[in-house]
Amino acid sequence: MTPSRKIVAIGIALVALAALSFTLSHVSLGVAALPVAILIAVGKAGLVVHFFMELSDARASAILAFISGILLLAILLVLAVADVETRAAPPLLPANHAHLS
């Protein structure tokens, strides 16, 4: 396969994955909807990064840079969301407060 044909094939795969995601969004997947959508997105991102941005052919320094970026994004996201998810309800919401007094 010539390089150009390969690029076109990847493009078709990307659009196909998008179509799959779009179709699935009309099917009620419940709690699985978000993980499935993100999984497909990660797959597409992988195709773009690997075949279009040619990260795996880049120098180690560029790969390291990209990994650091992703890693820090994950750190910010996980630790901030962990806070929201594990925060206890405020003990004295205005409503409860009125009830107590």
Partner: protein, 529 residues
């Protein structure tokens, strides 16, 4: 012909792509900002001579401490060492002719100037009273000039990112023959680690300040609890940058110290690798600790515990550095000169500031000290005690390299003493004030705090006099200082193996270094470019 004399027109300076001249331009700019920030600090200290109104109103006081913080953090300390010594020395230290992107480097300087002007313009347009932290929801409703100020800082952030990218790429691609990764001068490693933080953290600050601007201007309520927003999330985003920012300030200073100590102890560092790895360790772990600013902000207990533990990990890397530096003196031939005295000062203040840092990272203690003068004193010990003393050590150490003149050693020593006495005199009382319950950022205070406030103000005056004396020393040296030899300190580091001041191309021919930059066991004749 040196880089200073190659072309003397004003135009050749303002449009220069020579990294050395850009370094000098930055030096002028950051010194101006430091003077301005210092002026604000003095006004704050004078206001606190008496409880209640002294010289300014409460609103003006609020704007003063905000402007002091903004000017010192973003316009002085963040750019201070990387843009001046980093620009001037990083390419020389790796034997390169230039940074990788010289025109971008010039652009970065002018973007910095533009951002600084917008920020200062916002001060003239009314100033800001939110504190340099811009905490929501107050910053969304403050009547002061929030929007122009955050735009100014956003612009300065671009300059920081561009400089960071430039340095990283320069280190990766421009090293001369003989300069392997494990033979780079330690200052280069420090700037490299700093650049990584700059590139990865600054955009998060840019975005969060932009959102504050949007919230203020358009009332979108992104962080407004009344509309479902979460003000604590703003703090997460803000400190994700602003905590690593402390390492943007301190790592370059550590780099300066790592150069000064081997030179004046005339000995190789106790462990080169320990300093390198702890630099990278701090750069990474620094990203995991931001939550310790938010222990009492309503963050979850789970996160608070995690952040408390992660924060203390920074102390491990810092301790590795301190021990390595101290051990480097062992069996050295120590020459007590101004730069080394500043390095001692750095060690003292950094240990003191670092230990109090571990204390405030302990959640139960933080509840008592949070938002008091204790915290103010702690971060001034680290940020000013670290960055300022590192900056001054570097200025004295590299002054002959940059300008080809020697400063006066006696005046230098007197100014170190004044800075030391003044600094401790300013901030030691603040530790005590905070522990006694004096909250930070308060205009008024109870009469029983007055003696300590007066002591702190006197300390600040002494500190200021030390800095003015330092400035005098440099101005004097520029006009009629002795001409410096090429290597006045008998250093082995690569930047001293060329003329002082260096020629435009840094080295007269493409250099190749035969020894490592700390080979003090070899005769100086063997170390050549």
């Amino acid at each position: 012909m040196s880089y200073l004399t190659v072309d003397k027109t004003v135009r050749s300076w303002l449009l220069t792509t020579d990294h050395k001249r850009i370094g000098i331009l930055y030096l002028g700019a950051v010194l101006t900002m430091m003077a301005l920030g210092g002026l604000f600090a003095m006004l704050i200290r004078i206001e606190h001579l008496t409880p209640g109104p002294t010289i300014v109103s409460a609103y003006t006081y609020n704007r003063l401490f905000t402007l002091h913080g903004i000017t010192m953090v973003w316009l002085f300390m963040i750019p201070s060492i990387p843009t001046t010594f980093g620009n001037f020395l990083l390419p020389v230290m790796i034997g390169a002719k230039e940074v990788a992107f010289p025109r971008l480097n010039l652009a970065s300087f002018w973007i910095y100037v533009a951002g600084a002007l917008v920020t200062l313009g916002a001060m003239l347009a009314g100033g800001v009273d939110t504190g340099w932290t811009f905490y929501t929801p107050y910053s969304a409703s403050s009547p002061s000039a929030v929007v122009p100020t955050v735009i100014g800082i956003f612009i300065v952030g671009w300059s920081t990112i561009i400089t960071g990218i430039n340095f990283i790429v320069t280190v990766h691609t421009m090293r001369a023959r003989g300069v392997t990764w494990m033979r780079m001068p330690l200052f280069v490693w420090a700037i490299y680690g700093t650049s990584i933080i700059q590139v990865l953290a600054t955009p998060v600050l840019g975005m969060s300040l932009l959102l504050v601007g949007v919230d203020h201007y358009l009332q979108w309520g992104l962080f407004d609890p009344a509309r479902g927003g979460d003000p604590v999330l703003y703090q997460h985003l803000f400190w994700f940058y602003s905590h690593p920012a402390v390492y943007i300030m301190i790592l370059p200073a550590m780099g300066v110290i790592s150069e000064v100590i081997p030179t004046f102890a005339h000995k190789n560092p106790y462990s080169y690798r320990a300093i390198v790895y702890s630099t990278l360790g701090i750069a990474f772990v620094g990203f995991l600790t931001w939550g310790h600013h938010m222990f009492v902000a309503g963050m979850s207990r789970f996160d608070a515990g995690a952040f408390g533990i992660l924060s203390m990990m920074v102390a491990i890397f810092s301790a590795v550095k301190v021990f390595t530096w101290s051990l480097s003196f062992k069996q050295g031939a120590i020459v007590l000169k101004t730069p080394l005295l500043y390095a001692f000062l750095f060690l003292f203040l950094f240990i003191f500031g670092g230990m109090t840092g571990v204390a405030v990272a302990t959640m139960s203690l933080d509840v008592h000290w949070h938002d008091t003068y204790f915290v103010v004193a702690h971060f001034h010990f680290i940020m000013v005690g670290g960055t300022l003393t590192g900056f001054l050590a570097g200025l004295h150490y590299w002054f002959p390299k940059m300008f080809g003149r020697m400063y006066d050693e006696t005046i230098g020593v007197i100014s170190v003493i004044l800075v030391f006495v003044g600094f401790v005199g300013t901030f030691l009382p603040q530790f005590l004030l905070g522990n006694a319950g004096m909250p930070r950022r308060y205009y008024d205070y109870a009469p029983r705090f007055q003696p300590l406030h007066v002591a702190s103000t006197i300390g600040a005056l002494v500190l200021a006099s030390g800095l003015v004396l330092t400035l005098y020393n440099f101005v004097r040296a520029l006009r009629r200082g002795e001409h410096a030899p090429d290597n006045p300190w008998q250093s082995r580091s690569y930047e001293w193996l060329t003329a002082s001041p260096p020629p435009k191309e840094n080295f007269t021919k493409s250099p190749s270094f035969s020894l490592d930059p700390y080979a003090y066991d070899q005769p100086l004749e063997n170390a050549h470019a």
